[in-house]
Structure formats: structure tokens, C-alpha cells
């Protein structure tokens, strides 16, 4: 791709990654969450694949797949965390521990340290979606390319 595209990609990649991270992090407070944030961040990586060519990222296929597996395992493990009560019980919410602040009923400015397992699940899903969507774009871009022959 041309210099213009590459320069703009260099500019946009950090922005999209940071914004994706922001959306994931505030999933329990503002519109968004793991899927949306992961998709935003993945769009940045897709831009890199388009601008710099898939070959440059070809070696990262294994990394993406491992990251995706890891996100999936982490998400399922958070589900298993509730197994003392029932599968998927939110044992951290309102417990006073990690993300355990209680929230009063009604409109409020929002507190990051709330909602129990939700933020953790958001992160797990965010990584998973980031890795999964990037892997799909990368696989399509690599198919039929030089390294494939």
C-alpha cells in the first residue's frame, strides 16, 4: 500500500487499540463490552494487515490462536469460578474483594471497581475476539499468497 495508507495506519493503530481497551474496560458502565471492544481493536490490526501486507504478520498466526484459546479458557474458567454456588454465579459482585464494590440503585457516575466477574469476563472475551477476528482476517489475507505455495 502507499505511504499515505501506511502513515495513517501508524497513527490509527494505537488509537484503535486504546479505544478498544477503553470500551472493554468500561463494559459494565457504558455501552460496549468485550465483544465490541475486541472488534474495535481487531479493526486496527486488520488495518495493519491491509496496509503492510499479511506476510509481515504471517508468523503471528500461532500467537493469535494461542491468545484465542487462552481467552476462551479464561472465560470458561471464570464460569467455573462460580461452581461453589452454581455454574456462572457471579461470586465476586458485592463481595468487597476484586471488583466487589456495591452499587446503589439509580443513576450514578459509575465506579470501575464494581460488577464482580463481569470486567474480568469482558477482558477475557475482548482478547478472544481481538485474536479471533484478527486471525480470520490474517488467514484470508494469507490464503493464496506467496507463503502458501
Amino acid at each position: 500500500m502507499t505511504v499515505v495508507v501506511r502513515t495513517i495506519t501508524r497513527l490509527l493503530l494505537p488509537i484503535s487499540l486504546v479505544f478498544g481497551g477503553y470500551v472493554v474496560m468500561h463494559g459494565h458502565l457504558t455501552p460496549g463490552g468485550g465483544f465490541q471492544g475486541g472488534a474495535v481493536a481487531a479493526s486496527g490490526l486488520a488495518l495493519v494487515i491491509v496496509a503492510f501486507g499479511a506476510e509481515r504478520l504471517a508468523g503471528k498466526k500461532g500467537l493469535f490462536s494461542a491468545l484465542e484459546s487462552f481467552g476462551g479458557v479464561a472465560f470458561a474458567a471464570l464460569g467455573f469460578l462460580g461452581l461453589g454456588v452454581t455454574f456462572f454465579a457471579n461470586v465476586l459482585a458485592g463481595s468487597g474483594k476484586l471488583f466487589g464494590h456495591p452499587v446503589p440503585y439509580g443513576p450514578n457516575p459509575g465506579d470501575l471497581n464494581t460488577a464482580g466477574t463481569l470486567p474480568l469476563m469482558n477482558w477475557a472475551v475482548g482478547f478472544k475476539v481481538l485474536a479471533g477476528l484478527s486471525a480470520v482476517v490474517l488467514l484470508f489475507a494469507l490464503f493464496g499468497g506467496e507463503s502458501d505455495r
Binding site: 456462572f88 457471579n90 450514578n108 463481569l118 469476563m121
Partner: protein, 88 residues
């Protein structure tokens, strides 16, 4: 011949769907909202989340989301399987 058959099937399906949309309750006036009212009311005290949608996605219906994550994982695995290099 098969063209007319396709047009007939299409008209039948479209009529069926639009009839369904008209037969449903009016837009913007849900009749039965016990479950959703519960979510809007208790997502803060029970899950401590300001965002009721996220509370549903990851807590009340978190198991669905696990299935959904599985769907995405399955699709990525499937794409990797289909687009793999084959020595044959």
C-alpha cells in the same frame, strides 16, 4: 418455469412475514415486560453493574455468552481448517 416457482415462493414467504409483523403487538408498546423490568431494576443491586445489558450478557445469560464465544472460536477454528496448507 422454475423462475415463476421462485417468484411464487418468494411472494408467499414475504406475505407470511409481513402478516406476522402486522399481527404482532404495536411497536414500542411491549405487553409483557416482567423479565426486562426485573433486569432493569435489579442489575445494580444484584450484579453491581450500571449497564443492564452487560449484566444480562455476562451474568443473567452468561451461559449464552459462553456459547457465543464458542461459536466464534469454532468459526475461527473452522476457517483455519479450511484455509490450511495441504500437501497432496
Amino acid at each position: 418455469m422454475s423462475q415463476w416457482l421462485a417468484i411464487g415462493a418468494f411472494c408467499l414467504a414475504a406475505g407470511f412475514l409481513i402478516f406476522g409483523a402486522v399481527a404482532l403487538r404495536p411497536f414500542g408498546e411491549p405487553t409483557r415486560t416482567e423479565m426486562d423490568d426485573y433486569f432493569n431494576r435489579y442489575s445494580q443491586p444484584e450484579v453491581a453493574a450500571n449497564n443492564a445489558v452487560t449484566a444480562i450478557v455476562f451474568d443473567y445469560r452468561g451461559y449464552d455468552t459462553l456459547g457465543e464465544a464458542t461459536v466464534l472460536f469454532t468459526a475461527v477454528t473452522g476457517v483455519a481448517l479450511i484455509l490450511r496448507k495441504v500437501r497432496k
